[in-house]
Amino acid sequence: MTEFTFRIWRGNAEDGEFVTYKQEVSEGMVVLDAIHRIQAEQANDMAVRWNCKAGKCGSCSVEINGKPKLACMTRMNTYSAEETITVQPMKAFPLLKDLVTDVSWNYEQNKRIKPLQPKERDADGNHRMTQADVDRNQEFRKCIECFLCQDACHILRDHNLKNDFVGPRFLHRLADLAMHPLDTDNRAAEILEAGSGYCNITRCCTEVCPEHINITDNAIIPLKERVVDEYYDPLLWLKRKLTGK
């Protein structure tokens, strides 16, 4: 058992402060375990979101020493007992209480995206796709919706352009659809409308993704290229001018 010092944000949107807690930590513990011990023994009413405790549900997103992280996958042995561990809520979203933020904006963005428009099944009732066709989609579909990429994205975090830009999470949701072997929809207009042009490829989202999804290279850049092909290709532009389509 080693004693660690934590500074944890306590309070709601109107009023709050960092509160210091001392907590004994044993072998193998993660930051979420330490928070739970503090909650059970020192601060019964402290709010923290969590579910699976195994990095699969994406509920316990917080900022630990300034870095967006899952509290359940951050091991205490990555810190030394001499340093103070600061835990605070995600900055990009409105604070509700303590470590919990209002992430409902993300759910609204998902609703904006048109669901899969599947092609007809084969005569025997099956869809056929090769594994190579679906590998790319499966990478995006690993997403656990922790919204850490949204939190890290400076367009949302610092510029708060939430009405114009759906953020990396929903750009790669769009990429999943745009590259889906069964989808019949041309998504170019939707991608443009989602604000793909705002991303200036700083790769902050990819860096914080706990599922190691290469959001920037595999999703956002191909989407930007699709928009360019559709709207800014000079030959297509000329064709549209001439044919009126």
């Binding site: 019964n44 969590w50 990095g55 699969k56 549900c57 998902n110 899969l116 599947p118 009732g125 679906v134």
Partner: protein, 613 residues
């Protein structure tokens, strides 16, 4: 004085409580049936325990082995259930599962593929053929996200981070509403409705070592019990054989059966593949009895019998426990699960990516080079709310149930992979049942809410905040878990179960005096305190039913009553709320339909040749 009219009240045709696989599938079908549908869930949408399901969903698609069909799936399910499943439900499940899986593809799901481009299927314990549609080892995430992304466009209203506190019934005993607590603001809300579908999952949080998250406190079981519905087969609590055992903070976290399905083996401290010593007679003819044959199965699963590591979960969990008790456990007190020496690193990372990730990050073990250490963990409730086998309606009019919180499909033991398909099949059917009920509902059923009842429910919830002093809800929960872990574990005795019942009764006083300091907004201590009542009901029901069943069958093992007893195979145990407390009784099972009994009792050869069924 509390003014109930000041509580926010909304109205829907149907309220689905729970937003895991079953709740979402039910909501989608309710919307398709034209019902104005509400979904109430304790967490954010998409975080329910379904995301933790790893191995896959069982459906006799026959994509990998074309000998598979619904009859063999049905037979496997009945035999896995030790002939205690509801016959008709096992039939409906096996018949409907393939289409429920296929439609997920139209909604965006991307399963792993066969060489022909079809949905790939993997082997799993108790399933005769490769039957589990899967996505690596994150099938549950794929399922919940697919249902979520499709569902949000179907018109349902989702109330997130909202706990159902009490069901409201009219003078005829039919459901007419739900009292909810909006956790975020700490405000109450009333939903008036014509029907309710319960899809709340199990109650793993009554034990110390469990794969379940904080949400699984038996809410649906207790809510239904409190308004007169019956609970069945609740003594059958599944201990998954392979949970993580180290570090302590993740003790119980699931290690998918897919590890064994992909060739992983179980070893004791002497390096022995001990499962060969524990093959039950019933499965002997279908299980490899030499290492050579079991290894040959890995390359050719059509001409060799399956390895004993893939026996049903109850058998494997008990075997690990027996090895540990005999002093042959691993250093951390479990068994070794080795895939590193069976498959190459690339294969492991491709087929079991989240297991690789989980052990690497949480236990600092590289499963491509080292064996895992695993032990049993409370994973799943076979029993739950008793429902009509066709409509999924409970004894309480207008109240339906599906998924883990309902009883019937799994009997004494559930096969891996039958849970995700259960969620889809019975989520869908419960919604069809609820839609029929709403359309044919008697006009005299006036959903007038009883304000006095509501006020008393609200007072009992807020009392926890307003009390001057009282017990700590976290510590009361820990005591409850200790009682169940000690007395209602993987093996049980009458004496232990009697002490569970009396210790729970003694704990009731602490539950009644629980105090949560702080305000009502997002108060974790208050939420913990409110979960204690459902956990107490659930724990008592498990203990009483387990005490009554004087035999060992499936997941229920009584050290004082070894082996199955034919008499007990004829009855299900039903728990209900009586005038003076919990009542437990035996209910004789109806005679099975002759055609289904013939299929379940046939040999594989008879089924495949068409001689039976």
């Amino acid at each position: 004085m509390l003014d109930v009219s000041e509580i926010k009240t909304v109205e829907h045709d149907v309220v689905v409580i729970g937003a895991g696989g079953a709740g979402l599938r039910a909501s989608i079908e309710c919307s398709a049936q034209g019902l104005n549908t509400a979904v109430v869930c304790k967490s954010l949408l998409g975080k329910a325990h379904t995301v933790m399901a790893e191995g896959g969903m069982a459906a006799a698609l026959g994509n990998v082995d074309d000998r598979d069909n619904w009859k063999i799936h049905f037979r496997d399910t009945m035999r896995g259930s030790k002939f205690l499943a509801t016959w008709r439900m096992a039939e409906l499940h096996a018949k409907n599962a393939p289409e429920r899986v296929r439609e997920l593809e139209d909604w965006g799901a991307v399963f792993d593929r066969t060489k022909d481009g079809l949905i790939n299927q993997r082997n799993f314990g108790g399933h005769r053929y490769p039957r589990l549609a899967h996505v690596g080892d994150r099938t549950g995430l794929e399922l919940i996200r697919t249902l979520q992304d499709h569902g949000i466009h179907q018109g349902m209203e989702v109330y997130m981070e909202c706990k159902a506190l009490n069901l409201l019934v009219d003078d005829n005993g039919a459901v007419c509403g739900v009292l909810c607590l909006w956790r975020e603001q700490g405000r109450f809300m009333i939903i008036k409705c014509k029907a309710i579908i319960m899809a709340t999952g199990g109650g793993g949080k009554c034990w110390q070592v469990t794969s379940n998250s904080w949400e699984y406190t038996g809410d649906g079981i207790a809510l239904a019990y409190d308004v007169g519905a019956e609970i069945m087969d609740i003594e059958f609590t599944q201990f998954h054989p392979t949970g993580m055992i180290w570090p302590p903070s993740v003790r119980g976290t699931l290690v998918t059966e897919g590890v064994r399905g992909e060739g992983g083996i179980l070893l004791n401290s002497e390096g022995e593949r001990f499962m060969f010593n524990y093959i039950p007679e019933r499965f002997a003819s279908e299980t490899a009895d030499t290492i050579e044959e079991a290894d040959a199965w890995l390359k050719d699963d059509k001409n060799n019998r399956r390895p004993p590591e893939l026996l049903t979960r109850d058998v494997v969990a008990r075997s690990i426990l027996a090895e540990v008790k005999a002093g042959r456990g691993s250093p951390r007190g479990g068994a070794f699960l080795d895939i590193a020496n069976r498959r190459d690193a690339d294969f492991i990372k491709r087929k079991l990516p989240s297991m690789y990730h989980q052990f690497k990050e949480l236990a600092e073990v590289d499963i491509t080079t080292d064996a895992m250490q695993v032990g049993p963990t409370l994973h799943y409730f076979m029993g739950g709310i008793r429902v009509d086998e066709n409509s999924q309606e409970t004894k309480t009019p207008g109240l339906f149930a599906c998924g883990e919180c309902a009883a019937g499909l799994h009997g004494a033991n559930r096969l891996g992979g039958n849970s995700l398909s259960d969620l889809l099949v019975f989520g869908h059917l419960a919604a069809v049942g609820a839609a029929d009920y709403v359309k044919n509902r008697r006009e005299d059923r006036d959903p007038t809410l009883n304000n006095e009842t509501i006020a008393s429910h609200v007072r009992s919830a807020t009392g926890i905040l307003n009390r001057e002093t009282g017990t700590n809800p976290y510590l009361v929960h820990e005591q409850l878990q200790a009682i169940m872990q000690e007395n209602a574990g993987i093996v049980r005795t009458g004496e232990q179960l009697e002490s569970a019942i009396s210790e729970l009764a003694a704990l009731q006083n602490d539950v009644d005096q629980v105090k949560a300091p702080g305000a009502c907004q997002l108060n974790a201590g208050w939420h913990e305190a409110l979960d204690l009542h459902p956990m107490m009901i659930t724990s008592e029901a498990v203990s009483r039913a387990a005490l009554m069943r004087e035999e060992s069958r499936g997941a229920h093992t009584r050290l004082d009553f070894e082996g199955e007893d034919e008499q007990w195979g004829q009855v299900n145990i039903v728990v209900s709320k009586g005038a003076t407390g919990m009542e437990v009784r035996k209910v004789t099972r109806p005679e099975p339909p002759a055609d289904l009994a013939a299929i379940a009792n046939a040999s594989i050869e008879e089924l495949e040749s068409g001689a039976v069924g």
